[in-house]
Structure formats: C-alpha cells, structure tokens
Symmetry: C3
C-alpha cells in the first residue's frame, strides 16, 4: 500500500472545503425554513460558488462541470443537514465555524491555483480572497442575511493574511504542502480569534457629529 500522494491530499482538502461550505449553506437554508430543494440549492451555491468564480476569472473550465463529484457532495450534505440539523442547538455557531474552516481552505487553494496558473503574487492573493469569500457572499446576499464580511470582527483580513502567507512562503522556496498548511492555519487561527474573542482590526473611525 502506498502512502497518500500530495495530489490525493490536495483533493481531499478540496472536498473538505466543499463540505464545510455546503454545511454553512444548508444551515442558512434551515434558518430560512426552506424545503429540501432549497437546502440543496443553498448548499450547492455556497459549496461551489467561490471555486466557480475562480475558474471563470482564470479562464479555466469550471471544476464541477468537468467532474460532478462536488455537486454530489453538496447534494448529500444538504440532505443530511435537512434531517439532522434540528438535533443541534446553536446552529448559527456551527455555521460560523464551518464557514471559518471553509475560508481557511479556499484562501490557500484559490491562491495556489492562481499561482500555478502563472498569476502575479498580488493577483494570486486576490484570487484566494475572492475564492474564499464569494460562496459565503452569495449565500448571505440571496438569503438576506448580513454578509459575514460586514460583521465587526476580523474576516476578510484572515483570508488575506492566510493567502498572503502561503504565497510568500512558496516564493521563499518553502515546500508547497508546508506553505499551504501554514496558510490554512494562519487563516483559521485568526478567524477563530475573531469568532471566540471578537478580535477586530482597528476600523475606520467616523468623527462625531454630522459625518456620513
């Protein structure tokens, strides 16, 4: 038996990203009391939305049109959440954490794919940020939820930091696998600090008085 190759690990991590985003999409569907097809739709949009935008921007074939596995994954996740979600208290907390794992994975995967594609470092980081945030944005805008990037605690900052770490480390000849793991760890660690402790970056300070 062979040890799992780097390629296998990458595929596994990729599918893990789809799963957690699909969970977050299905949980938003549960907050809106949708029916099962609504669950499938929201899980799919959230699960594959970011990667779809990335592929369109890079001019690649859209990944789930080439291989339908991610769509099957979203379908199954949606059905499981539909029948199991009521078991859990505090579904919104689960949603936040699932989303946090998702952005950590996609920040790095989006940046890495753009880098392999020959993109400039800044463009790679931007692609990581978009891949990670777009699925959740779709989910929240369609369902009239407050987009997570509008919440006060750090969100986009974590994604940018993780994608940037990955691209910097790879540029400094760190092996891709190690760089990716570090990038994912940075994003998720920062986001966890945001969720648990409400850590914020200093926001723009409006002056008192009539200022809009």
């Amino acid at each position: 038996m062979m040890a799992p190759s780097f390629e296998n690990v990458l595929q596994f991590v990729d599918i893990l990203g789809v799963i957690v985003f699909a969970v977050s999409g299905a949980l938003v569907a549960s907050r809106k009391q949708m029916d099962i097809v609504g669950f499938v739709l929201m899980a799919s949009l959230t699960g594959v939305g970011g990667g779809t935008l990335r592929d369109l921007l890079l001019g690649r074939q859209v990944f789930w049109v080439v291989d339908p596995l991610p769509v099957w994954v979203c379908l199954i996740v949606a059905v499981v959440v539909f029948f199991a979600a009521h078991v859990f208290h505090r579904r919104y907390t689960i949603l936040l954490w699932a989303d946090g794992i998702g952005i950590a994975i996609y920040a790095v995967m989006g940046a890495e794919l753009a880098r392999q594609f020959g993109s400039w470092p800044l463009v790679s980081v931007m692609m990581g940020v978009m891949t990670a945030t777009f699925g959740g944005l779709l989910r929240d805008v369609i369902c009239n939820e407050t987009p997570l990037i509008l919440r006060p605690e750090i969100y986009a900052s974590c994604v940018a930091a993780g994608a940037g770490t990955h691209i910097l480390l790879v540029a400094g000849d760190v092996p891709v696998g190690l760089a990716a793991a570090t990038g994912i760890f940075v994003t998720f660690g920062l986001r966890a600090a945001g969720i648990i402790r409400g850590v914020t970056l200093p926001g723009y300070k409006a002056r008192p008085g009539r200022d809009y």
Copy 2:
C-alpha cells in the same frame, strides 16, 4: 411550405422564455417606479441573466453577444410594459405567472443545452436550475425584493423536478421534443399549484424555544 423544424420550435420557445422573463423584470421596475431606461435594464438583466450564467459556466460564447436578437426583444418588451402596465390591475400576479412560465422553459432549456454539451446528468439538472433561477435572482436582489426562492411555496423544487424529468426521459430514449415538453409541463404545473394553492414541500422544522 414546410412544417416548422424542431430547431425552429426550439428557437421560438427560447425567445418566449426571454419575453416572459423580460416582462417580469419590467414589472419589478414598475414596482420601483423606475424610468424607461431602468425598465430596459431590469428587463434585460432578467431576460438574459440565466442564459448568460449558463454560457459562462459551460465555456460557450455568451448567446446575446453572438446574436443580439434577445437584447432587442428585451428592449421592446421594456418599452411596451412601460406604456401599457398601468392598464392592468394586479401586476404582481402577472409577474408571478410570467416568472413561472420563464422558469419552466429555462429549467428544460438549460438542462438540455448542458446535456448536449456532454455534461453529467446531475450537472445538467443543476445547470437547468441555475439557468432558470439566476435571472429572477438578479432582478430581485438588485431591486431589494424578496427573492422568489425565499417564498414559502414551492419554487426551486418545481425547477429541479422539471429539469430532472427532462434528463431522465431523454436518458430513457424518449424523443427530445417530447421530453422537453413534459419537463416544461411538470415545472409549470407544480409552480401553478404553488401560486394558486400555495402548495409547499415540508420545510425544515425549527424546534420550539431557543433555536436559531
């Protein structure tokens, strides 16, 4: 004189889909008391939005960039609705029905085009659902209306059922034209039951008490 070919019928149905979606877009513009250019913009976004997403995802050339006929159609529909809509009572009802015809047509057309493109069955159904719902989503999100997929009665379910019926029938060697007609009929019939009788699928049941 020749009987109309299957190709001609397809084109006619396609344009019919653009027309009814354009009507729904223009009617939302009327609810927001927009000017004539607003009518044209909303009619166009709604009329060609779903098909545009489908073409982008499949990597085809966008249909209205190749042949501007659908844009002309949206333009004319917008002008007609602008001057004629005040004649009608109950414009929101007309909007619902126009949208219902539109999703029935595009559920099948989107799935069929993806199938011809060689997509997997599940991807074809998903493409049908996206093609059918995206134009209306754009329309509602931009205009701050409640997206129709968030309404309690069946909506996305009808689209998924119709697209699935079409793909299943074609896989079972039913002629494409008959399969398409059946798929359109299934979608529209279910949606009509939703509009008239408020038919719903069992939604996700939140437990009483603090559950969010």
Copy 3:
C-alpha cells in the same frame, strides 16, 4: 520627446476610471466602519468589477489577471482613503461624484471595447451600461446600501445615453478619440444634472388606489 499616443491616453483614462470607482468603494467601506482589509476588498470589487464582467461576457482574458496594475491601484487607493477620509465632510457627496466620473468613463470604454471586438451596436451599448454599472451594483448590494440605479434621479439613463452617443458617432465616422470624449462628456453632464438638480426622467406612474 513624443506627444502621448492615443493608446497612452486610453490607458490613462482607464486607470482613472479604476481610481474613482475604487474611491467610491472605499468610501462605502468607511460608511460601514470596516477595517483596512475591508477597504481593500470593497475598493477592488468596485474598481475592477465592471471590467471583469465585460471581459467574461466577451470571452477575453480578465484584464487584471493579465496585468495586475489595476489591483495595485485599488490597494493604494484603499489605504489612502482609510487614512485620509475622515478629513472630509460630506463623504457621501464625494462618493456620488467619484461614481459619476467612473460611470462616464466606463460607459464609453465598455462600449468601445465591445465594438472593437466586433459586437453589434446594441450589444456594444449594453456592454457599456453593464461595465459602468456592475462595479457599483456589487458595492451597494454587498454593503446593503441602496443601489444608485434605484435612486429617483437619472443614472442608468446617463450611461445608456453616453455609450449610445459614442457608438453612434463612431458609426458616423467621427474619430474614436473625439467620439469617446463626447460620450464621456454626455454621461457625466447628464449625471451631474441628476446629482445637483435631481433631474429625473418621467418614471412609471402607478395609478392611485390598490395597484402593486
């Protein structure tokens, strides 16, 4: 020393469009009291959003994936606005004017690029309208602001008029540079009348009584 070529002027105008849209995006971020990364994200989405949609629809490579200069510009604009915006009273007014310059530039640039691509005149005008309005739409929808095209005073009309003027003049053998300048002037002049005097086109007139 050589006089600046038409190509150079075009590039300069293009970057000017990115700058003003990025400013408007960063100002919306300031209204939402985001942190610096939120400023960068909103400035980037608004600055390159319209051009990205244009490139996707035309099947071109996305401009900022090819050359990252626009992303750098958005980054710098975001940082400057983050530290300087509090100096200004009436940031919303600045936002409106920055957006107004942006739509004037992109109405013409979007239409011109589509024309060079061989699009039909109506498609070119539509592409100008989409390029000019999409970045701002993204900005407003993501941040829960009222999209500017929903405001009562003229907005989309200015864009359509400017893009149409440009395409008509070029079709009438007016030199491209002169046509573009006229188109930009028309869009900006009309929009200025909208901002200063609240000029509107006659909107759709709802009848009194139960009419919705």
